[in-house]
Structure formats: structure tokens, C-alpha cells
Assembly symmetry: C2
Homo-oligomer: 489 residues x 2
């Protein structure tokens, strides 16, 4: 802030000085110092006009629940432009929610040997098996899915019911999920339901390819996937280990890059659940160190996943998380932290602890603006926040996205990237919907093409790629960006 | 931030250093540097325990709409303590919503000569008149209220229906007020309905006394009332001017101070509606200058009221607002500004403009954390934000109060006072409910007795009282505070 601002004011503001202050504030926001080409300025003006129109809409999409906003967003001209925009990398997506549920239902559940079972709590389980599966504690009665679907006489309705099991979608999200506890319960249930489909070895291979395909369709060039590398199974019940999953991921992404030369690649952030004990996390950290040594191109680092509010804090796992430093090896951390609105609790210290453990990025960082010291630390050390607006709304941290705390971060130009967390579960896909919410809702009318450009460039800059790879990727991206600008301005 | 934080971290955090950072962050919050006596520390520990219990409640009151939360809050032990706490001044309350609607209905509408009329849009009007009132454009058929009430056969139900006309209360706030436009419409309707009661001269006198009484009951010692000084009428239809209203206010508050020697007093912030034109606001500013010259003890300053999002911006009125400075006189401003979540619009510049016009405080400042320059200016110039959490929730700026942007301001120790805006319309009263929301919801678990003490002291420090009056008031308050602490710790 300029010093003359602190002089006692006269009470009659000078319009030129006012203008200067407004410009100064605008220059502080994400992308505020970005220089735009003439063509970019033209598109920027168009975006501004479109956004202005959209802000008069009732309901205003970012102000209502995404399940109601989605059809409105799909009609938005701003959204259509954001969809076409080359968006760089998706740095925060979970492997269990990478591919649209429509594909799971219409493709995977139509494959032969797929069995389904209904549990006592109205959830479903799937398994592929060459013979009738054994009863399990939660599943006594397995039915061949194809037989059941035929018997219902209404395969369309049946498939819809499967979609509902595998996503959070409902017409009445506020009524059905009155609070965070309820929505998290359904959230974890849907993961368990999907696991039987995705962890079938032949499905996983197709699933990963399809996931990359969907990102590519959304004009995304790169992926860092959080994955537990869960074991997979074959039709005969035999089991593959984590190494198999990692190798498969590598093969599939190499194949995808061959098929789509403008795609930069995909890496894995090995993630374990925060419900585990210290010694188990210790073992997982050791394993991650080994896997990274073996697959340095694929393994980007390590994270803890699962709901922070009901889980164990990072500090609880300090012994496990200190291991790499103690062993003198590097294992980059990408911690979920601050995905909470319970201020002042133990869990609310996760952001500070993530930074003290030298995290590379912060997943969510929803609580960051309430932590001035952590915020300063994150900013100075260039630890970017992975902003996932739709996730935060659907999981009921915030309802009107204009109130998302990242509005403060964006106004200060805090290092940020946009991501989608669990797109298939939320019924979104790729990054376009989340970019829409960040650009129209959180950024408001003042977020502009410079903001978008910086957010996209951030996704390369703050990725786990090497300096060399970043340079190459950015050049590849710039070409696509130039084509986009000249097509849309 | 300490410089050693910027050194590359080793990955194994030092617990002592971590502790120091946490303490440093805690010391930055509102009240974070307050030294507490032993007795205060005891009460603080008790508050912390109680709050911890309350944060496990489902529903958590600050997370749900106040109309649903109110009965829960009333049962809260934290609330009971906040009610007993001497709270200093209420610096942001509007005169039309000062007194509980129960009193209006049970006392005022039971007075003789009260007529009621139902308008075409299902609203009501009241008027006191010694004979049958003339039809007006909006009111053709006036009935004597007492006759109508008797005729219904169920006076209780009838009175309840009147209460509903005069407040925003409903069992289904989200359904009935789906967005800000709808709730603001009902908000302004209720004001118009109440006007006929309150602007009856004999009622106004009692109304103001009752208003001070209700604040006093809530352990509040001082009031700055925003008032348009509307004209009042007598039974015979004769009209009193603004001077009469101002004199009446002075008489009533002097009488109240005589009856309650521990009450500091009450002042008026003259407020006009932002729907007026520039020349009308100019005339109002001139009038306010004169009234302040004539009643320096009563008139604190000037403000513009009405919904910012649909109204004219401060900059639109710049000619009028520059008047005092141009005339070389002082007219303190207390502008509503930033009561919006539309980022980047013209209205969103109101906060900066309020500061450039040298405002003494900022009403709401909801958008302040999104404006780093304005925030810095407000902080350095000690321009306090009047935080009215329940108002912001009921008027649908934010639903879960944990997401209120003031959480950021509190974490940074930004100058803040707590107020209630329109308590009777929202069904709250005094300041205790808003203190509860700020302390439990916005402040979270880390807000403590030091926070409360600083907020209360702020209400004296940032009031419009003279330095001398502030000193006296603070001493009076300290006595009540000491009694409170020794009774509760
Ligand atoms: Zn996540
Ligand atoms: Zn107000």
C-alpha cells in the first residue's frame, strides 16, 4: 500500500487517485499482472460481457447447489469457452472417481461375468467372476447383473438406479444431505460400490485409458492422480499386487501419449487413508519411497486421504511423515489439509503441519484464509493450493460459492490451481465445471482472461514435473492456447 | 512472520517451533494479545469447554438458518453467559427494527384508535386516527383493529399473523426466501408495515424507551441508532417534523439515563435511503450538518441505507458526500459498504469509496476480505467493521456462518465491532445472539474470552463518543465486567 494513503484524507477523493487504487487492487489478483496480447484482450472483453449477463441470471449458478446448477452451466457461453480452453494439468483427482459413471454403467456393468449384490444398508457391491461368487459378510446373495437387468423389464430405469448408487446426485441435495456427516457417509459408500468394478484388472486398464480420454476431451493436457494403488483381481479370483497397478498405469499412460502426442503425461500421488494407524502409515511411506525409486517417472509423491474432520491429523502421523527426512531421501508430499470449517480444532492445524512437513502443494486449503501465518508461509514458499470448488460445495463446506474462502486468496494472487477432486461422483467431468465456478463465482466480475491464463500456467508451474518437462509442456500448451485464442477472440 | 520460516525446511518439524507458530497465529486474532486476570482465565477455560461440547452438536447452530438455530441457541450455556456479559455499545441498529415485534403487537396494536388495512399484495398498513381514516392508493378499506381482532374469535392466532407481517420469521426460510431478491422484498415490506405504528408520535416516545430498555435487559450500555428521523403524526392527523423526532429521542434517552445511571447514552446516525437522487442526498447532507450543529450531543453523523446491490453506489453520490469537506465542516460518515457478494461490480467499490470519503466505521464490510487494498486501509486507519452475522445470514449473503468472511478478519485482528442491524425483524434482540454467532460460529474454537473482551472494548473505542466520554464509559463498563467475571468464573 502506498504511504500517502495513510495521510489523513481530505474527504473529497481525487478520482485519479481512486482509479489508481482500483488498478493497484486489480493487479494484485490472480493473473492481475499478466500482459495480454491484442487477441487475448478481445476475448477478455467478450468474456467480461458474457459474465456480466450471466451475473444477472436468477438463479445464479455458483450460488446454487451444483446438482441444480449443472444444466444451467451447460448452457452458459462462458462455460463453452472454458471447455474449449486448453487447461494444462489436473493436479487433484482421485483414481476412484476419474471416469464418468455413465461409462461405468453403460460399458463396465454390461460386460459378461458381472455380479451384483445388495447389502443390508441399501448399497451395492459388484464383482466379476467366472463362477457364482462366494457369499461375503456384507453380501449373501450375488446375482448375475445381466440376468437381473433383463428380469426388471426396464433396463433404462435399472441403469439409472445404478448411476445413483455410484454418484452423489439427487434432485434434493440440501434435503437428502442435511449436513457434512450424511454426505460423507454416502460419499464413502459410493466409493466402496465402485471398487468392485474398477479393481477388476481388465476393467482397470480400460478405465484408466477412458479417464485420460475424458480429460483430453475436456482439453486437459496432464494428470496427477491420487491413487491408493489398490490390488486388482482377475476373473478366476487371482490377485495382482500394487506393482501391477503401477505398471499398468504406466503402460496405459504411455499408450495414451502415443495416441495423443499433445498430451504431456500422467503421474501418481500414492495416497493412503488417514484411518490407518501410525505404523501402517509408516509402512506405506516406506513403500512409497521404494516405489518412487523404482518408478521415478510415474510416482510423484505421497498423500493422506479421507475426511479430515473425522480422521487423524497430520501431526498424529508425525513419526511416519518424518521418515523420508530421517532416511535422507526425498518423498514429495501433496497433503490434503484444511478441508474443514471447524476453526481452532486439532484438524484445523493440518495446513500449518503440511507446510512444516514441507508439502509441495496443499489439497483444498479451504481454511487457509483463517490462518494468517500459514497463508504467509504458503505464499512465500510457493506452495500452491489445489482449489476444488464443486467438491467443497457438494461436501457441504460452503453453499454459495461466492463465499468460498478462495475469493480472498484470488484477490491476493495466492498460488492456486483449479481441480475437480472427484468429478465422476459429483457428476462433473474434467476441469471445466470447476473452472466455471472459480472464474464466475469465486472470482466474480473482476476475474478475467489473465486470471484464467495464470491459473492454467500454475497447473504446469506447480506440477511435479521436472524443470525441463515443465518447459516442454508449457511450449506444447502455448501452441494450443494460441489456437484457442485465435479461434475464440 | 519470522524470517527463519523462509529457510528451506528439513521435513522434520521441531515441536517447539511449531508451538511457537501456533501461538504467534493465535496472538494475531481479535483479542489475541489481551492479558486475562486469573478469574478471567477461569471463565475462559469454562467457555472453551462449553464451546467444545457445543461444536459436536448436530445441527450446529451457526451452520443452520437463525430461524431454526434460535431455539437451540437459547438453550446454550455459552449463550447464557454471553447474555449476562456487559457488551458495551450497539453501534449498528436501525430505528425501525429496534424494539421486539411482540411489544409492537401486544402493546401498540392494543391501543385505542388503531386501524388496520390489507393491501392488494397481502401486506398490512396501520394508522392511529381519531376518526375513520381516508382511503389511500394502497389502502381502501381501513378497519378498527380491535373490532377485527374480536371478530376473528381467535385473538392469539390473529396476533401471530401480525407478528408474521412485521418480521421475516418463517419455518421454511430457505424455501420461502430462495434468494436475496425475495428476502429483501419481504424485508422492505415489513418496514413499511411497521412504519404506521412507530411513527405515531405517542408510540414513538414509548417505542424508543422500550428499545433502550430491551438493550439494557441484554446488558448493553450504549446505542448508536441509524434513523431517518421520519416525521410523526398525532391522532388528529397533525404532523411533527424531524426536529420533533430528534428532540424526542434526546428527551427519551436522557430520561432513560436518569432511570438507569449505568447506561452511557444514545446517539443518532442520520440515514437516508440510497434510492434518492443526488440533489436529494445533497439536501439531506446539508440538513444533517445543521442538525449536528444544533444537537452535537445527539447527532453522531450520516449514512446511506437500503440494499446496496440494487441501489446507487457511494461514488454515484460523490458530489453530495463531498459537501462537508467542501464547506470545511465535519460530518462523520458511518457508511454501509460491501454488504454484497457480487465481486467486481460498481457496488463492490463502495468499501474503497467509504474509506476515501473518510468513513468513521464500515457497516457490514462483508466483501472486505476480497479487497486487499481497502482492507489494509481500513486496518491502518482504524476504521472498524460493524459485523452483523445474523443479518448477513437472514438476508442470504451466507448460509453457514463458519464461512462468514469475518472469520478471516478475526484471525488477523482487524478492527471489528459486533452488532445486530435489524434485531426485531430477524427475531433476535440486543446483541447476545450476534455475539454467539461471532464467538462460536465465526471465531470457532480458538476465539476466547480475550476475543470477547476486545470486541466489547472496541464498541467503546470505535464509538462516536468523545475521548473523555470513552474514558468514563469504559470505567463504568469495567465495573460491570468485573462483577460479571466474579459471578461467572
Ligand atoms: Zn481430494
Ligand atoms: Zn444496516
Amino acid at each position: 500500500v502506498l504511504l500517502w494513503l495513510l495521510r489523513p484524507a481530505l474527504g473529497v477523493p481525487d478520482p485519479a487517485q481512486r482509479e489508481q487504487l482500483m488498478l493497484q487492487e486489480a493487479s494484485m489478483q490472480t493473473g492481475g499482472r499478466m500482459t495480454l496480447t491484442v487477441a487475448e484482450q478481445k476475448l477478455d472483453a467478450r468474456l467480461h460481457r458474457l459474465k456480466e449477463q450471466e451475473m444477472n441470471n436468477i438463479p445464479f449458478p455458483p450460488a446454487v447447489h451444483f446438482f441444480k446448477a449443472k444444466p444451467l452451466i451447460q448452457q452458459s457461453e462462458v462455460f463453452k469457452l472454458l471447455h474449449r480452453m486448453p487447461k494444462g494439468g489436473a493436479l487433484h483427482i482421485h483414481s476412484m472417481s476419474l471416469v464418468s459413471v455413465d461409462w461405468l454403467v453403460k460399458n463396465v456393468t454390461y460386460r459378461p461375468h458381472c455380479y451384483i449384490c445388495f447389502t443390508w444398508d441399501n448399497s451395492v457391491r459388484f464383482v466379476f467372476s467366472e463362477r457364482q461368487p462366494f457369499p461375503r459378510w456384507d453380501c449373501f446373495y450375488w446375482q448375475l447383473l445381466q440376468t437381473l437387468r433383463d428380469r426388471t423389464g426396464d433396463p433404462h430405469a435399472f441403469d439409472l438406479s445404478l448411476v445413483q448408487q455410484l454418484t452423489l446426485f439427487t434432485d434434493d441435495p440440501e434435503g437428502k444431505y442435511p449436513n457434512q456427516d450424511v454426505v460423507w457417509e454416502k460419499f464413502e459408500k459410493s466409493f466402496i460400490a465402485a471398487a468392485g468394478l474398477i479393481s477388476h484388472a481388465p476393467v482397470l486398464r480400460d478405465y484408466l485409458y477412458q479417464g485420460l480420454e475424458e480429460l483430453h476431451q475436456d482439453n486437459i493436457q496432464y494428470l496427477e492422480l491420487r491413487s491408493g494403488l489398490s490390488r486388482t483381481y482377475e476373473l478366476d479370483g487371482s490377485i495382482h499386487d500394487k506393482l501391477w497397478t503401477l505398471r499398468t498405469f504406466q503402460q496405459v499412460s504411455n499408450k495414451f501419449k502415443l495416441d495423443h502426442p499433445e498430451f504431456f503425461g500422467a503421474r501418481i500421488i500414492i495416497s493412503v487413508h488417514r484411518a490407518l494407524g501410525v505404523s501402517e502409515v509408516k509402512a506405506a511411506v516406506k513403500e512409497a519411497i521404494e516405489l518412487q525409486r523404482e518408478f521415478p517417472e510415474v510416482v510423484a509423491g505421497f498423500d493422506l486421504v479421507g475426511r479430515e474432520d473425522s480422521g487423524r491429523s497430520l501431526w498424529y502421523f508425525r513419526e511416519a511423515l518424518s521418515l523420508p527426512a530421517e532416511l535422507g531421501v526425498t518423498l514429495p508430499f501433496f497433503f490434503h489439509a484444511g478441508e474443514t470449517d471447524d476453526e481452532g480444532t486439532d484438524v484445523d492445524q493440518n495446513i500449518l503441519d503440511a507446510l512444516l512437513f514441507n508439502t509441495t502443494r496443499i489439497g483444498h486449503g479451504f481454511a487457509l484464509p483463517h490462518h494468517p501465518i500459514a497463508k504467509e508461509l504458503s505464499r512465500r514458499r510457493n506452495v500452491a493450493v489445489e482449489l476444488c470448488p464443486i467438491s467443497n460445495q457438494v461436501l457441504r463446506l460452503v453453499s454459495d460459492l461466492r463465499n468460498h474462502p478462495a475469493a480472498t486468496l484470488m484477490s491476493e494472487g495466492h498460488p492456486l490451481v483449479i481441480s475437480s477432486d472427484d468429478p465422476s461422483l459429483f457428476g462433473s467431468s474434467g476441469l471445466s465445471y470447476d473452472f466455471y465456478q472459480a472464474f464466475v463465482g469465486i472470482g466474480g466480475l473482476r476475474a478475467n482472461l489473465g486470471t484464467l491464463k495464470e491459473l492454467v500456467l500454475n497447473s504446469i508451474r506447480f506440477s511435479s514435473l521436472s524443470a525441463q518437462q515443465k518447459e516442454t509442456s508449457q511450449k506444447m500448451w502455448q501452441k494450443k492456447w494460441d489456437v484457442f485464442i485465435s479461434a475464440c477472440s
